[in-house]
């Protein structure tokens, strides 16, 4: 923090408000669990004790109103796509979307002939991070979440408003 750094005692931290906000938001992104198919099993494994998502500040929530990140884990059918959109709209800002697995990113195995499957959740909601795999291992999902944290940290919410 330039000239102000190390000018105060140990228990005083100096930071720009933008960065502070970014840090605060990125380290506790509660996620909206969206288990639609087999990816949900991997997502559960990620949240369970072996991979322990809690250590990067993520807690699964069942309500869109308490969540910051929506992890779309699984095959989104046309019937479900309207619900996905509705639930996304119910989330409070700032909100992020992770498309987990082949189905959520592009339709997966239903890519060409699946009449009932949405060909990628990005046709309905804006996606921040795509996690490839069928289904992705918990490590891959955690990698995606860390990428999302980087993205959130790089945001400058206050600067944006002034500009």
């Amino acid at each position: 923090m330039g000239i102000l750094e190390n000018k105060f005692q140990d228990n005083v931290v100096v930071a720009s408000l933008d960065k502070l906000l970014g840090w605060a938001r990125s380290t506790s992104p509660w996620f909206f669990q969206f288990g639609l198919a087999c990816c949900a099993i991997e997502m559960m494994a990620t949240a369970a004790s072996r991979y322990d998502l809690m250590r990067i500040g993520m807690i699964p929530r069942s309500s869109p109103r308490q969540a910051d990140v929506m992890i779309v884990a699984g095959t989104v059918t046309m019937k479900m796509s309207l619900r996905v959109k509705k639930l996304y709209e119910q989330m409070a800002n700032p909100k992020y979307v992770i498309a987990m697995g082949s189905c959520a990113t592009s339709g997966g195995p239903y890519w060409q002939y699946g009449y009932h499957v949405l060909k990628g959740v990005d046709l309905v909601v804006p996606v921040d991070v795509y996690v490839p795999g069928c289904p992705p291992r918990p490590e891959a999902l955690i990698e995606g979440l860390l990428k999302l944290q980087e993205k959130i940290q790089a945001e400058r919410p206050l600067t944006k408003k002034i500009a």
Binding site: M78, S81, L82, S106, W111, Y115, H116, L118, K119, L123
Partner: protein, 232 residues
């Protein structure tokens, strides 16, 4: 070594076949003992196959003399013909029974309640499309938990106005089976209490498992067919 050993083994195996296993078990040399055991197994197998070859010849001789028994399908078809004459479409009832849909509800009740048949379990309802201009078909797989026997019933219906009587009131599981068949083939089951789609959205267009099905372009403004061309 070998000739003497062979002779010895043959002797021991003969003894063992007569019931004296100790003759083999008491052989001190491990190699010889295992060879003797292998020879014993071989000898036993040979005698078994010889016996088996002799047996089926006798069996076929027996079945030739006795009159062939009626299969379940034939029995069911006969009793249906007796009670509901004119309901069976095809003479050939070896694999399935082809009905024409007339009195199907009453026939289903009869199949379920008749003490000789007791088809208390409807295991599956399948739709079937024979292709452009051809008929649609519904297939029922029935099973009896009491008699452990099963039959298949098939009913053809017109493609442009597909209607089959509902058996939802006979077998309760038929409720969802019929809704699924309706969802995929558009076959209407008359008398069903809630004939709506079960899997697809209620406002979906067309019947997906028919052979002339074409996917709709958009659903509530969302593009349905594949769009991301460059991804392959």
């Amino acid at each position: 070594m070998s000739e003497d050993q062979d002779k010895y083994i043959a002797e021991v195996v003969e003894k063992a076949l007569r019931g004296d296993m100790d003759a083999i078990n008491n052989i001190e040399d491990r190699v010889t003992r295992s060879k003797a055991k292998a020879a014993l197994i071989k000898a036993k197998r040979l005698s078994k196959t010889a016996a088996a070859e002799a047996a089926p010849a006798e069996e076929t001789a027996q079945t030739d003399t006795t009159p062939t028994e009626k299969s379940l399908n034939q029995k069911v078809a006969e009793s249906l013909e007796k009670k509901f004459s004119g309901s069976i479409d095809s003479e050939d009832v070896n694999e399935h029974i082809q009905l024409n849909g007339k009195n199907w509800f009453e026939i289903a009740q009869y199949l379920k309640d008749n003490p000789d048949l007791l088809f208390d379990s409807l295991q599956c309802i399948t739709g079937f499309d024979f292709g452009e201009g051809e008929a649609l078909e519904v297939r029922y797989n029935l099973h009896s938990m009491t008699h452990y026997h099963a039959i298949e019933i098939r009913i053809k219906t017109d493609r442009n106005d597909p209607k089959v009587p509902s058996v939802e009131q006979v077998w309760r599981i038929g409720d969802w089976f019929e809704r699924e068949t309706y969802d995929m083939y558009g076959i209407v089951f008359e008398g069903h209490h809630n004939m709506t789609r079960i899997l697809c959205p209620e406002d979906w267009e067309g019947w997906p498992l028919r052979k002339d099905y074409e996917t709709q372009e958009t659903y509530h403004g969302i593009i349905v067919p594949k769009v991301k061309e460059g991804w392959e």
